[in-house]
């Protein structure tokens, strides 16, 4: 018997959650695709546009000084949240994808050559696979997979075997799996990788919202983040990079805002992190991202994390008891993400039926086709929880799954 969890203390801070869908109260269980944003984030961004809107850097006037201060503060807040040693180790990007591309292009071009190996996990998101394919082709390096076990965990022995070739220059993998929720042992992997003299890039898209991230304790070289996966706005993300790596890298994109001195024939670049932030930055995005992290800390993140994982655990148990339904992945440690398939209903049909019950889930391959192949499914239905999830959301999910059985039948 699963215990009922009392009401969620912070849900009313999320205006978008207060609506009806298909005649039912919305049960938003698609937070791994994007979280909703609390009022604190919406207000911080609006305050920028209403009061401080100006371009950053080089402005002499008061508004520009305020905008620059807010932008720099945002960088400091993010650095503090992930425990970077200095704020200059945080480069703003438009998201995780751009952060990975930045490393692939800026670091990859300088450090990879014919015969080198980039090890990429089978579990990874297309955004942490495709940039490596492109740079491998450009540099003559090759890609070796790190296998995933049937439980949906990284196969460390396979990583050891790849590292033992002595050819690995970079290991790219994700902290938390967006498709099936696995939490990977980042510090253990990073240590192993560094003893082989290779560099680590971790896609942290799904981690920040659900577990503690301390880049120094994890021992990673690069760590990619996305604001919208952690209650912040879309279109902003950040790359953590160890300062000496960042300083040695040539810029990825060039233009204004990242230079010290330009003549028509030559340029001296600005110091890091500006060297990697050409053009007018997404200032309200950075402010919103930082406000989201502050909101999470101020709301008592550990308490919220306990609540969401309790709900996800309950959802997993109750879903598994439905005839013909199979939960995909059984890792020891998981984030609040539950992926499942049903014998007689395709994930797309599950998604449509759920929507008719007001339940928002995601159906598809979750940009993880190699992982889907590994787990022997084409796609899954995925319910993902967040700090604002409630007991009613779980109940609605189960009702939705039962409705799927009604329409498509249970087990054949």
């Amino acid at each position: 018997m699963v215990a009922t969890i009392l009401s969620n203390p912070i849900k009313d801070q999320f205006p978008a959650l207060d609506q009806m869908v298909s005649g039912h109260p919305l049960a938003y269980l698609d937070s791994a695709a994007t979280t909703q944003r609390p009022v604190a984030v919406l207000e911080a961004m609006e305050a920028f546009y209403r009061h401080d809107n100006s371009n950053v850097h080089r402005g002499i006037h008061s508004l520009s000084v305020r905008a620059t201060d807010h932008y720099d503060d945002a960088r400091r807040q993010i650095a503090r949240f992930v425990n970077a040693s200095v704020p200059e180790e945080i480069v703003f990007t438009k998201g995780c994808t751009e952060a990975v591309n930045l490393v692939a292009q800026a670091w990859g071009r300088q450090n990879l050559t014919q015969g080198d190996v980039i090890a990429v996990s089978e579990m990874d998101h297309h955004s942490n696979i495709v940039p490596w394919q492109v740079i491998a082709e450009a540099t003559g390096a090759s890609i070796e997979p790190i296998s995933v076990t049937q439980k949906g965990e990284l196969d460390i022995s396979s990583l050891r075997a790849v590292l033992a070739t002595g050819k690995v220059k970079l290991v790219a993998f994700k902290h938390v799996c967006n498709a099936i929720g696995t939490v990977n042992p980042v510090s253990e992997v990073a240590e192993l990788v560094s003893t082989h003299g290779a560099t680590t890039l971790v896609d942290g898209a799904q981690a920040l919202a659900h577990i503690d991230v301390d880049v120094q304790a994890l021992g990673v070289d690069f760590y990619a983040m996305a604001g919208h996966k952690v209650y912040g706005p879309m279109g902003i993300g950040a790359l953590f990079a160890r300062k000496e790596l960042l300083e040695a890298m040539a810029p990825y994109q060039v233009g204004g805002g990242m230079i010290q001195k330009v003549t028509l024939t030559s340029t001296t670049y600005a110091p890091v992190p500006e060297k990697f932030e050409p053009g007018t930055p997404n200032v309200p995005g950075a402010i919103g991202f930082a406000a989201a992290l502050d909101w999470l800390s101020d709301s008592g993140k550990q308490r919220l994390w306990n609540l969401e994982s309790e709900l996800a655990h309950q959802a997993r148990e109750r879903l598994q008891s439905i005839n013909g339904l199979r939960v995909i992945g059984s890792a020891r440690e998981t984030a609040p993400i539950v992926s499942f398939v049903m014998e007689d209903a395709h994930p797309h049909d599950i998604g449509t039926v759920m929507d008719s019950e007001g339940v928002a889930i995601r159906a598809g391959h979750h940009c993880c086709q190699p992982l889907m192949d590994r787990m022997g499914v084409g796609s899954t239905a995925r319910a993902s929880f967040a700090a604002y999830s409630t007991q009613e959301d779980v109940d609605a999910l189960i009702r939705g799954a039962e409705r799927v059985v009604e329409i498509f039948g249970g087990k054949c």
Partner: protein, 144 residues
């Protein structure tokens, strides 16, 4: 409000569960693959064309109830048609689902089963499921 039973009509569930003409075809003169990047579903459509006539149509591959039912109903609707008739059925079917096209219901008359799929047009993110096999059919015919 949308009614789920308009989408999942009995005939669609029936074709979805027990698709007709779901088999590979060794004697195919034309074939093509359809791929839905949203869900990763893949369908292969096989045709046997003799002269101007589509003598046989079949498909393989897995997908959702809508794409399986649509593929199954398509094979039944197109077998025995001339290439011109098959093309015009494609156009009518497409027009029924894609709002930018002008619906030409008259041409779909005589295809009651296909009209059961009309409910899909109210679910914009499922239209690709219903048209997947049809686009593969078109590509096969055009040799693309």
């Amino acid at each position: 409000m949308l009614n789920l039973t308009d989408l999942y009509q009995e005939i669609i569930l029936d074709h979805g569960k027990a698709p007709r003409n779901k088999r590979t075809m060794e004697t195919a003169t034309h074939w093509a693959e359809g791929y839905n990047p949203l869900c990763g579903d893949q369908i292969k459509v096989y045709l046997q064309v003799e002269g101007e006539t589509v003598k046989d149509v079949s498909f393989s591959g897995n997908g959702c109830a809508i794409s399986q039912a649509s593929a199954s109903m398509m094979t039944e609707a197109l077998v025995g048609k001339t290439i011109d008739e098959a093309n015009s059925t494609f156009q009518s079917f497409h027009a029924m689902l894609v709002p930018s096209d002008k619906p030409d219901q008259a041409k779909l008359q005589g295809y009651d089963e296909l009209q059961a799929l009309e409910g899909v047009k109210n679910y914009p993110n499922r239209i690709k499921c219903a048209t997947l096999a049809w686009h593969a059919f078109k590509s096969a015919l055009e040799g693309k």
